[in-house]
């Protein structure tokens, strides 16, 4: 036990034996105390590092959560930009438009279609044209209550009445798969140049007149026959489609 030595007589001088004991014990006690202090410091440092590790882990988690949140906001912003572009087009066309999200893409080489999340409940039906902010995507070939399949204009089965904006020459834009499209039935004598803009002519009654289909990428008159071989690059980048707009054209109405 440790007592309070306030009223205890203090020995001014030490005996020889006591001196020897104190002299012997002092360096050992000092060494032990220094070691203990070092151990204590190491322990405190360890605790500090453990605390730092915890804090680091917490901050990493927080950072990941914030990054996730930023990504969500960025996605929302980009979606807003895309939808605004679609709405700008919607203002230009005279028909009711249904904005839909692309929920699946056909990745086979044979068919070029995509699936959208709107169907007959929203008023969609087979044959309706589908647009993106850059231009024509294709037309609906199949509908369910809440989803529809769209045939892209690059599919081999797609044929759209088209005209060249500059020369007003009319032809049929046929899909050519990954090669894009071919503008067919254009006479060899017609003036068609690379870079000419190709629009929908509105003749077949599916697509309203004046919608952007693509741009002439190559013209060839070398082959024999009556017509030119015209390659057209679609205006739409089908690989990056996320939202589209289906135009609800009244059945029987002239587009």
């Amino acid at each position: 036990m440790h007592v309070n030595p306030q009223k205890i007589p203090i020995h001014g001088t030490c005996g020889l034996l006591r001196k020897i004991v104190l002299e012997t014990a002092a360096p050992i006690e000092d060494a032990i105390n220094v070691s203990l202090k070092s151990l204590h410091d190491v322990w405190r440092r360890y605790l500090f590092l453990v605390g730092l590790e915890d804090e680091n882990r917490r901050l990493r988690n927080e950072n990941a959560a914030l990054n996730d949140q930023i990504n969500q906001y960025r996605e929302g912003y980009l979606e807003g930009v895309r939808l605004r572009k679609l709405l700008d087009i919607k203002g230009d066309v005279k028909h009711r438009a249904v904005v839909a999200r692309v929920i699946d893409k056909d990745r086979t080489a044979l068919f070029k279609t995509l699936l959208i999340d709107k169907g007959t409940v929203e008023g969609l039906r087979v044959g309706l044209p589908v647009l993106a902010d850059q231009g024509v995507v294709g037309r609906i070939i199949e509908t369910a209550w809440h989803s529809s399949r769209v045939l892209l204009l690059i599919d081999d089965n797609s044929n759209i009445d088209a005209l060249i904006q500059r020369s007003r020459t009319q032809g049929i834009l046929q899909g050519a798969g990954s090669a894009g499209c071919h503008l067919k039935y254009i006479s060899r004598v017609e003036d068609v140049r690379t870079g000419d803009v190709v629009l929908s002519s509105g003749l077949a009654g599916v697509f309203p007149k004046g919608l952007l289909l693509g741009v002439v990428s190559e013209v060839s008159r070398k082959e024999g026959g009556l017509f030119q071989k015209i390659d057209v690059s679609p205006a739409v980048d089908f690989g990056k489609l996320e939202e589209v707009m289906a135009l609800v054209v009244d059945a029987g109405a002239k587009p």
Partner: protein, 164 residues
């Protein structure tokens, strides 16, 4: 012979360890007085000469290093040693429960003696120390004593083996 040669160094080491390392692991108001257990062990297992020499040296070292009153622990340890020696001659003192109770009692008696000595010789009243210091210390040392008795027994066997 080795006993007499090693004794001062080991006891000094014990007192140093007790006043430095063990204090780290205990609460501020309880000191781990392992030296008292050693004195009681000596009373139970050693002869009068060797035991009194051990108690004397241990008490002296403790006085040198920790006591405010020179000779206090020397006196107390000699008294406790002879008390233990007498008790060991009368009862079977190997059961852990008895060792624990006896150590607790000795710790309490040591405390009461200190309180009494302070009161009589210096007129200082430290009665508060009984419930606050000595009773908890008696409980802790009592509980630890069987373990230390076991360790000391093994150490004694080792020492004898080297001596022979």
């Amino acid at each position: 012979m080795i006993y007499y040669l090693l004794l001062p160094f080991l006891l000094l080491l014990l007192v140093i360890v007790q006043s430095t390392i063990l204090d780290v692991f205990t609460l501020k108001w309880i000191s781990m007085e392992i030296s008292l257990i050693v004195v009681i062990y000596a009373g139970f297992h050693l002869d009068a000469f060797r035991g009194s020499l051990l108690s004397l040296v241990l008490g002296f070292f403790l006085d040198c290093l920790t006591s405010a009153i020179f000779g206090l622990y020397t006196f107390l340890y000699i008294v406790i040693f002879y008390f233990s020696l007498v008790v060991a001659g009368k009862v079977y003192a190997e059961k852990p429960a008895f060792i624990a109770s006896f150590t607790g009692l000795c710790t309490l008696l040591e405390g009461l003696t200190i309180v009494l000595l302070y009161r009589v010789f210096f007129g200082v009243d430290i009665l508060y120390a009984i419930p606050k210091i000595f009773i908890p210390q008696a409980v802790v040392l009592g509980l630890l004593s069987p373990l230390f008795f076991h360790l000391l027994q093994r150490f004694e066997v080792l020492l004898h083996a080297r001596d022979t």
